[in-house]
């Protein structure tokens, strides 16, 4: 059941990429409780540019497709060249720097808008830090993490 759904996603994604003229190809790999959809090819710069908006768009389309087939319980993560891990590290660093600034200035710091999964990384990065508290503000695509002095 889930193997079929994943094959369908790979086929769908590769068709979109081929018809778009992009040299990128998706393959799936089962990792613990989710599937990693890895994208490879010479157009990786287009894929990962602008905060990886194309990678995010392709992942979003794939989750819509799963929802359409009643397979929402299947977890997928689109990735390329370890982007997710690198981005997580970067976000943790940004969170620590923001916290440090808020501690010294006592002025709240507002991040640029982020996806739910990225906001989660920032909240978790500062969850143990008792000198600050974090909140998400704004709606939809404009939702941002704000760091406040505790």
């Amino acid at each position: 059941m889930s193997e079929d759904a994943i094959s369908k996603i790979i086929e769908f994604t590769n068709r979109i990429l081929r018809k778009s003229g992009l040299d990128l190809k998706a393959t799936a790999e089962k990792v613990e409780d989710f599937y990693r959809i890895e994208l490879r090819g010479s157009d990786i710069n287009i894929l990962l540019g602008h905060n990886a908006e194309l990678l995010e768009a392709l992942e979003y389309m794939a989750t819509r497709l799963l929802a359409r087939d009643g397979a929402e319980e299947i977890q997928i993560v689109f990735d390329s060249n370890n982007y997710r891990a690198r981005r997580e590290k970067e976000l943790r660093l940004m969170a620590e720097k923001a916290a440090e600034r808020v501690r010294t200035t006592r002025i709240p710091f507002t991040f640029d808008p982020m996806s739910p999964s990225e906001r989660r990384i920032v909240h978790l990065a500062l969850a143990e830090d008792s000198s600050v508290k974090t909140e998400s503000q704004g709606g939809g695509e404009n939702r941002k993490v704000v760091v406040y002095p505790a």
Binding site: R15, R18, K19, S20, G21, I46, Y60, R64, G140
Partner: protein, 81 residues
Amino acid sequence: MGDISLKEVIETIAMALVDSPEEVTVREIDGDATIVLELRVAPKDLGKVIGKQGRTARAMRTILRAAGMKLKKRFVLEILE
């Protein structure tokens, strides 16, 4: 790559998301600098191609922008009621 067709990209996505794929049509209007893609779906399927807070439409436009970067063209998606 003779296989490239952004019209088919939008058709593929729309047909995968709607209840009435047979009512999906995409018309391509070629201008000098811009190619307009007009997507029509059954009225009841409109929400499915636009998505919550317009996210599906935005994802389609992101894909068109990426393809446009590679092909040095500008693609505009119009979703018609």
